[in-house]
Symmetry: C2
């Protein structure tokens, strides 16, 4: 939520739903820029800090952003003539573990909220935060308001969890790369999970996981539409993330093309193919706090194998140095080579489970465009390839067309 | 507290006390301007509002200011190398009634705080707020952080409650009116209460009442001194509000001259002197939500009496109209006259209890300066006179000198 003008618009939109007879629970994020403002103040005060007590206080601090916006939304709803009440995470309560700044929701007590809904009130619950077993305020980390909303919807067994975002839904791929990209009317939970984990930034991945665990239908829709659009139209807008594999979904073999820029590839060549080799290579990498994405181990030849993986470009040089200076000499590897400019492209589709030849269509399409595939990784509903970064847009566009995802004008 | 620079200075000051072996509990106010900023946002959203639900949300909103500054102070103390933890009102808990925006503290549970202090931690408690029996956040109203600090000090049986303000203590009178005004090293609780109620804005009157009830020694001192001044010097600075009438205090008959500008006087003349006349006149005034200060009823003459009282200048015309149009005709009063430009000057001193002639010194001093006294009102430790507003400064200066309060250069 941005200015008071935006809060007023949210209130009018909520009021529209409430007046149509829906029991409404709203989980607002902080006002635009507020969380960053607060964390910047903390950063000014403590450039170097002891971890746990500092993180506890960061959560005390950051939680105020949502508390303020929730109270303001309640006030705006009252000004609209509705009965509205706001609750902080601890008032509901939303119980979490004690992992400050990245806590996980453990349970939500729906009774207090349910009583208010039954009394005809709109209930506002601060997103992003909860209370730990010792009564400390915790926050769920960035994007946590989405997760809060899904968790609240699950606890109350809501019909649907509407996530208002700055985009109007989930697309077949990024429209900035492929102008022909289409908005999906619905997408399965598993597909959404793959797309979120593959860099589609529409929803925080934890919120999707949560929705999956508790089977909460989520709808991603735009907060930029006018509040007074027709309710029936709004209720069908955006993208529904669903758990029912309906017929329509069966038709689409591939639902979307996801991609990650900014990756880098590292190969350790000619390592002795003995048990524990993956751990011997990736253990030190993980210890250096470097996230590894795709991992490939080639078949062995003459008792030696090649081991490749991708990391983010920002970690590339550090990972390369680590492997060259410490890991490779210890393992007796032949050499460590890398490519700091690769990208990952993935086709995602629940229909891939029951359709053969999807991966080969992908490989053929890329071959026709002259795009060399450097690594391949597959899962049940997705196939990912690592390619030279410079071919990324070309590859995404070609695949989008090949799988029939282009918008029909 | 203002910028992060000011928070850092507060942290250094607290660290100085803590390192000298004091167990410290700190009750910060919100960062400068923050409470006004938040309330302005609420005002934008709800120009007209239903009372109770709106006030509940205002408290949710306003409480975030102190929560943020408390977390930031904890972070700043940690950066100073101290172990520090912040608690909101509900975490302590500070229990209040449910009078949103002007709640009263009912009890404070000292156990959690005591455990932290015993573990060597500095404890920060959000001022200005608490939790009601139903688990709602409440605030104590403007200046409530002072009251919170005193209440916490009482609950923990603290040696002293230091109130850091923008002045360096309590003065014999306002130094802007009397340059010779002196800072008092100590003042009795009763005197402070009279001075606070008479318009000395150093401390919120409720905090003084609270200190009186629980016998908490308070010290008013300046937040603008450098944090690294000598601790022993700082511990003696400012003004101590005390409950022990020591010898030094006995010597001063009058401790200070308080005054109120901006008052107005109204007289209802020639009303029949029958029982219930005060209620018949002041009842309608109170019903119109007009605060009355000094009230005087003259002795009766021929079965008629004159009844005078003062109100603030902003309420003057409304009160006058009400009395002339409704009250006076019903009572058969001769006339209603008023003076919209009067001021009240009071001498305050616990020594007045045991000294005769104090009031007459006051009247003689004013007579010598040619100041006409329009009304007189007395209590055990104060004598107030109502005079023409234009003589206010003259009267205050003359009385300050007459009672030996001037600074000795």
């Amino acid at each position: 939520m941005g200015s008071t003008e935006r809060i007023r618009n949210v209130a009018k939109r909520v009021a529209k739903w409430a007046r149509a007879g829906h029991q409404m629970v709203v989980v607002p994020s902080a006002m635009s820029g507020e969380t960053n403002r607060l964390l910047a103040l903390a950063g000014e005060l403590a450039p170097d800090h002891p971890e746990t007590p500092y993180y506890r206080e960061l959560d005390m601090l950051a939680a105020t952003g949502e508390q303020a916006s929730s109270a303001l939304l309640a006030i705006a709803l009252q000004a609209e003539g509705l009965d509205a009440v706001s609750y902080t995470g601890w008032q509901v309560p939303v119980r979490t573990d004690s992992s400050y700044t990245k806590a996980r929701i453990e349970s939500i007590d729906p009774e207090r909220v349910r009583a208010d809904l039954d009394a005809g009130r709109v209930v506002i619950i601060t997103g992003f935060q909860g209370i730990d077993p010792l009564g400390n305020i915790t926050t769920l980390g960035r994007g946590g308001s989405d997760t809060s909303a899904v968790a609240v919807a699950a606890a109350l067994k809501a019909d649907e969890c509407l996530i208002y975002t700055d985009v109007d839904g989930v697309y077949t791929t990024d429209p900035r790369v492929v102008p022909a990209a289409r908005r999906l009317n619905s997408v399965s939970f598993e597909e959404m999970l793959e797309m979120a984990s593959l860099g589609s930034k529409v929803l925080q991945i934890r919120s999707v996981e949560f929705a999956g665990k508790y089977k909460v239908p989520m709808r991603v829709l735009s907060s930029f539409t006018s509040w007074d659009i027709d309710l029936a139209e709004e209720a069908k807008s955006g993208t529904l993330i669903t758990f029912e594999e309906d017929e329509k979904m069966e038709k689409a073999v591939v639902s979307g093309i996801a991609f990650n820029r900014g990756e880098a590839k590292i190969s350790v060549r000619g390592v002795p193919d003995t048990p524990g080799i993956a751990a011997a290579i990736l253990g030190p990498v993980a210890d250096a706090n470097i996230d590894v994405d795709v991992i490939i181990q080639n078949i062995s030849k003459d008792g030696k194998t090649d081991f490749s993986f991708t990391v983010s470009q920002t970690d590339y040089q550090r990972a390369l140095d680590l492997l060259r200076e410490k890991v490779a000499p210890e393992l007796g590897a032949a050499e460590v080579v890398g490519n700091p400019n690769i990208a990952k492209v993935s086709i995602v589709g629940i229909g891939m489970r029951s359709h053969v030849g999807v991966a080969s269509t992908m490989f053929r399409t890329l071959a026709q465009e002259g795009v060399n595939i450097q690594m391949i990784s597959t899962s049940e509903i997705k196939t990912s390839v690592v390619i030279d970064e410079k071919y990324l847009e070309l590859a995404v566009r070609a695949l989008h067309t090949a799988f029939g995802l282009d918008k029909v004008e």
